[in-house]
Amino acid sequence: MKALIAILFTSILVDNFVLSKFLGICPFLGVSKNLNTAMGMSVAVIFVMLLSTAITWPLYMLVLVPLHVTFLYTLVFILSIAALVQFVETIMKKSMPPLYKALGIYLPLITTNCAVLGVTVLNIDKQYDFLQSMFNSLGVGVGFMLALFLFAGVRSRVDKADVPKFLKGLPITLIAASLVSLSFFGFKGMIEKLFG
């Protein structure tokens, strides 16, 4: 159990996908303008990550490995994710139309979110078992949400400030992101101290 909690904390704070590993930057920059969209997007991402892991991990371990075709994992994983997102989109359209409308174009874009494919590949790389993979994916998704939230707050302040013309728009946003990323450095070494 301790190991699972350690994995959770590591993926949320220490190895934060957005701020440390540079995964999921495109939606991070695009969606963090509006806090509500950020919330909806993060929840959708967490959901897709968990479902993707639940599908891809068994696919890899129980199908690709025994058949000695592990080299097909990139193809199989991304197609699974694409199918999953399509499925989620259809369900959302039918049963949660306002949320579907609010997310708009961002929902199909989850397919190309490198964080989603990234976490499924990472779980295999780190040789996690199924439960560890699920916890890792949960942590990654929550870390994504955390980064998005913090950044949306920073951005709303930055947008009100008087920015020099050279840096207006995306550049100052990225510089703000660098400072948020720097603040997360404070978490390094935390896992060893907390969990021995």
């Binding site: 190895d15 075709v69 080299f71 097909l72 193809l75 174009i105 780190k126 390094k188």
Partner: protein
Amino acid sequence: MPEMHDHAHMHGSSAPTPPEAPREPGARPRLKDHLVWPAIALFIICAITTAALGATNALTADPIAKQLALAKNEARQAALQAASFEPIDLAALQAADPNGYAAALGTGKRAFSEASYGNDASGATTGLVVLVDTRGYADGLQIMIGIAADGTVSGIRVLADSETPGLGKKIRDDAFLKGLLGKPTANGFAVAKLATGDVVPVDAVTGATISSKALIDAVNAVARLNALLQKGGA
């Protein structure tokens, strides 16, 4: 109307379908108009892609295996001079003496991935070389450690790490490793400021105590494994 973002133009699943040329009435039904055609087309593309990948895999499987073996062997050689290597069955060792094995591993995240005896041309043992899988600041710290027959550290090679560039990554450098190379393993090693008694002090990398400690602890574990194997009269 969904807000068009920079990326909207790249994923036009909401873009209108370009209309196909209208058929003349009474013309034969085209395969393309069949309801199942999209699925069939997709399946064909998948099949061709998979076949192409299978072919590539067949072509590259051998070179890949060779590369892996080469890398491992080169790492073993760097840690211990030997003409040949004789693998040790760690699983059997652990089964025969679980307590001793666990004591050799010690506390913290660590595992022995593989171990071999090095033999020179005449068959005499030159020492022991072990691949340790452990964690410094990050997971995935793999170190090949060699102990010569006289009980000194014969070589250390960091095979893989995810440590911080400029800080933890410096444990790969000779400047740090020379504090361990050639030194006797009998009493163990420790970071200089924590060393007591007969333990050999080693200067850690400035600002990377955790990474340094992880490597030093790995060397200690291999030393304990060495002692365990010698006790067993292997």
